[in-house]
Amino acid sequence: MLIRKILPHPYLTLMLVVVWQMLVNKLTLGNLVLGLVLGLIIPILTAPYWPNRPRLGSLPRIVEYMVIVLWDIVVANIQVALIILFKRNADIRPTWITVPLELHSPEAITVLAGTITMTPGTVSSDLSADGHSLLVHCLHAPDPDAVREQIKTRYERRLKEIFE
C-alpha cells in the first residue's frame, strides 16, 4: 500500500506537525510545510527502531480517554488538596495495592502507569518482573478493592480497546 509507505506511522506524523507548530508558536504556511516535511521524514528514518509498535485504535477513543484523564486530574488535585488540608495525619489511611494487569503491550502499561500517577490519590510505584501486575501506592484508601476496581474499569478497559 502506497499510503503505508509514505506514512508508516500516521500518529507520529500528526504529533510531529502539531508539536512543531506549538514550538514555533506562529501559524504560517511556511511553518506548516516545514512541520509536514519533518512529520514525513522522521517516521521513515526512525521506522527501524520501532519494530513492534502497537496498532492504535480509533482516534475518537483516544480523545475520549484524554478528556476523561484530564477531568480526573482536576478532580484528583482537589481531592488530594482536601486530604492534605483537612485530614489529620492519623486519619489518613495510606496503603499499597496490587493491580493485576490484562494489558500486555509495554506502551499500554506505560500509559496506564502514567494515568494512575496523575489521578486520584494513587502513584504507580513498581511493575512485577513478569509484567503481569502493577504496584500502586494510595494516599488515602479506606477501601483498596474499590480503588483497584476503578483503575481496572475506568482506565484499563479503555486502554485495552485502544491498544489491543
Binding site: V19, Q21, M22, L23, N25, L27, I73, V74, A76, N77, I78, V80, A81, I84, L85, N89, I92, P94, W96, I97, T98, P100, A113, G114, T117, M118, G121, V123, S124, S125, D126, L127, S128, A129, D130, H132, S133, L135, H137, L139
Partner: protein
C-alpha cells in the same frame, strides 16, 4: 474586565494549589505519602498558571500562544516518570518483599529481582 478577573482567578487558583502541594510536602509523615503532594496538587498549580497565560496572550495581547499547551504536554509526560523514579528509590531503600503486597505471579516485583535471577528466567543475557 471580565477577562482580567478570569486571568486573576486562574492565577489565584494556581497559587493556592502550589501552596497546598508544598504544605503537603511538609505535613505528610512518610516519603511515599509526600510523593502524592507534588505529583498532583502541583499539576493544577502549574495548569492554572498556564491557562492564565493562554488567556492573557489570546485576549490581551491578541495572538494565540501554543507554548502553554506544549508545556502541559511535557508536564504530563515527565511528572509520572519522576514520581515513578522516586517511588523506586523508596522501594529499594525502605521496603522488603514482605512489606509490600504480593505481585500475584511467580516472579517478584521488578525492584527485588536480581539480574542473575532475571537472566535465568528469561534465558538470555540482557
Amino acid at each position: 474586565m471580565i477577562i482580567d478577573i478570569l486571568i486573576s482567578a486562574f492565577l489565584v487558583v494556581s497559587g493556592v494549589f502550589g501552596l497546598v502541594g508544598s504544605i503537603g510536602l511538609v505535613k505528610l509523615p512518610d516519603p511515599m505519602m509526600r510523593l502524592h503532594a507534588p505529583t498532583k496538587a502541583t499539576t493544577l498549580g502549574v495548569g492554572g498558571a498556564l491557562l492564565a497565560s493562554l488567556f492573557y496572550f489570546y485576549f490581551v495581547v491578541g495572538r494565540f500562544s501554543w507554548h502553554e499547551l506544549l508545556i502541559t504536554l511535557f508536564l504530563f509526560l515527565t511528572a509520572p516518570i519522576t514520581g515513578h523514579f522516586i517511588a523506586k528509590v523508596h522501594i529499594h531503600r525502605h521496603e522488603r518483599p514482605d512489606t509490600l503486597p504480593p505481585p500475584g505471579g511467580a516472579r517478584p516485583w521488578a525492584s527485588f529481582e536480581s539480574d542473575d535471577a532475571r537472566t535465568r528466567t528469561e534465558g538470555h543475557e540482557l
